[in-house]
């Protein structure tokens, strides 16, 4: 009887397509919004994960997330180095000066000042040039998106200059740094250079990034650093989640995305549920005839579930294809680079669509189960 169920489903083209597209657009919206939301939230901690060599971040106890820091004292670096279990610890500056091009274009930037000796935190993915050239005087590495923001329409090339707080610097490399929460250019420089890009604050060290010795876990080292120095120490993973949680708690982003996701879910459920219900109601006479002929309630239930899951699977596949195409296109744009269709989002959406299909089926199944087969004679 499976083919009968499928033919009944596809026989009414308008309703069939209505059902498929209701689920497809619901899927597209859900996957699109959840992936973008997760992608944007993930961006809040991208600079942390880009410093792949360090496993522990030490900061002022008042510092909550990456973008807003209270400077540490220079002596804090040595205090951290003195904690047992530290393999190495280096300073990191995070600043936000304004960069100007010779053409007059300007933009606020994120500057990461790296330890002069080790260059820990230098971008490992380079598109042009070499991060080792940061050892040259007054040199910076800029990310590709930032380059295009400051030099729109111009080819990628090293050797161009920027003015940062009255300091002329030369671009020695173009990196593929992960985008941050804000779309500012990301500059990497030596710490000793970067401090000059900032204002005249006495203390400028934002973070100390640390690598634990072999056999010491990052969590264990965090506890030791906090106990011994009174500073806040977080593993890279935890600090990244601190940033995400900060934006979740202190911005309207979750509410905005949440509303869209809820509407997609409600509209998808209502439209698909109602259309499927109407489809069943209009076929009640046929279901009654099948009952009279001797098709069992269990078989009819199976037919309805097959119809619902077929529509669900086709709609979900179509919607996922649309979402994949969307991210394929937008992933190549500078502003939306790095936003991808996440498998977790696709799985979560699949579960939601499963829920929609179950709700739609249950309403219809109920009508068919209570249908008196004798109604077929009326």
């Amino acid at each position: 009887m499976n083919f009968v169920a499928l033919r009944m489903l596809t026989g009414d083209r308008a309703k069939y397509l209505g059902l498929v597209f209701a689920i497809a657009f619901s899927t597209f919206l859900l996957e699109n919004q959840t992936s973008i939301f997760a992608g944007i939230m993930g961006r809040t901690g991208n600079q942390i994960t880009d410093v792949s060599e360090a496993e522990v971040w030490v900061m002022d106890p008042q510092t909550v997330y990456f973008e807003e820091t209270k400077a540490l004292k220079d002596t804090d670096l040595n205090r951290v180095r003195g904690v047992s279990g530290v393999q190495w610890a280096v300073r990191l500056l995070k600043g936000g000066p304004v960069a100007r091009t010779p053409a007059g274009k300007f933009s606020q930037c994120v500057v990461l000042g790296l330890d002069d000796a080790t260059l820990v935190g230098a971008p490992r993915k380079m598109i042009l040039g070499d991060w080792q050239r940061l050892r040259e005087p007054d040199s910076v590495v800029i990310d590709k998106a930032g380059y295009f923001l400051l030099f729109p329409g111009e080819p990628l090339e090293i050797g161009r200059t920027l003015e940062l707080n009255d300091h002329l610097v030369r671009i020695v490399g173009i990196s593929d740094a992960k985008p941050g929460f804000v779309s500012f250019p990301i500059l990497h420089a030596r710490y000793s250079s970067a401090v000059n890009f900032q204002g005249r604050e006495r203390s400028q060290m934002s973070f100390v990034v640390v690598r634990p010795q072999a056999g010491v876990t990052p969590e264990e080292l965090c506890q030791r650093i906090t106990a011994k120095t009174g500073l806040r120490a977080r593993t890279s993973h935890d600090f990244r989640w601190d940033c995400i949680r900060y934006y979740l708690a202190n911005t309207g982003i979750p509410v905005n995305f949440g509303i869209t996701i809820a509407i997609a879910l409600i509209v998808g459920t209502v439209v698909a549920g109602q259309t499927f219900y109407l489809f069943t109601v209009e076929n009640l006479k046929q279901f009654g005839a099948l009952k009279a002929i001797g098709v069992t309630n269990g078989r009819l239930m199976g037919m309805i579930l097959l119809q619902a899951f077929t529509v669900g699977a086709i709609g979900y596949s179509l919607g996922t294809g649309m979402a994949a195409a969307f991210f394929e296109v937008t992933g190549q744009q500078t502003a939306t680079r790095g936003l991808i269709l996440m498998w977790e989002s696709a799985a979560l959406t699949g579960a939601c669509i499963f829920f929609v299909v179950i709700v739609a089926s249950l309403l219809s199944i109920r009508r068919v189960l209570v249908l008196e087969p004798a109604a077929v004679f009326r």
Binding site: V4, G11, A289, I293, E372
Partner: protein, 242 residues
């Protein structure tokens, strides 16, 4: 053959009662119906609208439970069968022809006719082939792949007839099979029904208002106010009329 041999009737109703609702809303639709239908012929059930004909065939077919009395189909008291067995019994032994055909609009004529076989678990190809062969016998060989919407009323009723016959049931129940057809088409459908459905091992019950087709009946049971008031042979009915 022993002339005194009386075969067991295919359908035997004894004091069948059926009511709907309770209290003040209670309606007695069947009031102790005594009815039987023999193998090898067509038994017509006739009477005015609302007299209980449709309820009676619903009870006979096991689609409704009687409120009282007994219904035996081929010696089996169907009220005593568990629900699943009753459905199974109906699937194997009964064929239906409905007034409004009730064909599935998305299936072709052959696929519609094959539905009882599919419900019984026969493979799709075999079921459709068997249905197609039956449609050929019913004169629909060129319309076997047409959808119901492309068939005339008479053709649709022939497809419904094929659906009722395809699994070779022992009882065929027809509800007003000619009501939606003009006289000529109705006559043709009844001729087909008589030629293809009537069989020594099969009983046919036809509910009808259409006295122009009474001559196809062996027996006519007249019903009124929830009871069988008279049973007579078709010959007697026709003789009285003319």
């Amino acid at each position: 053959m022993n002339p005194s041999f009386q075969p067991e009737p295919a359908v035997q109703c004894r004091a069948v009662r059926k009511h709907f609702g309770d209290g003040d809303a209670r309606i007695e639709v069947l009031r102790g119906v005594e009815f039987s239908a023999a193998l090898g012929g067509m038994t017509f059930l006739v009477g005015p609208s609302g007299c209980g004909k449709t309820t009676l065939i619903s009870v006979i077919a096991g689609l409704l439970d009687a409120s009282g009395g007994e219904v035996h189909l081929f010696g089996e008291n169907i009220a005593q069968l568990p629900s699943a067995e009753r459905i199974n019994f109906r699937r194997k032994n009964l064929g239906f022809v409905f007034q409004q055909y009730n064909l599935l609009p998305a299936l072709t004529a052959a696929e519609n006719a094959a539905v009882p076989l599919l419900a019984a678990g026969v493979q799709r190809r075999e079921a459709v082939d068997r249905a197609r062969a039956l449609l050929v016998k019913l004169g629909l060989e060129k319309r076997a792949d047409a959808l119901p919407s492309k068939l005339s009323g008479g053709q649709q009723q022939r497809v419904a007839l094929a659906r009722a016959l395809v699994h070779e049931p022992r009882l065929i129940v027809c509800d007003e099979p000619t009501a939606a057809l003009d006289h000529q088409t109705g006559e043709a459908v009844m001729e087909l029904l008589a030629a293809s459905a009537v069989h020594p091992d099969r009983a046919v019950i036809v509910v009808t208002h259409d006295n122009r087709v009474f001559h196809f009946a062996e027996t006519i049971a007249h019903m009124d106010d929830g009871q069988i008031i008279k049973i007579e042979s078709a010959a007697a009915v026709l003789a009285a009329r003319f």
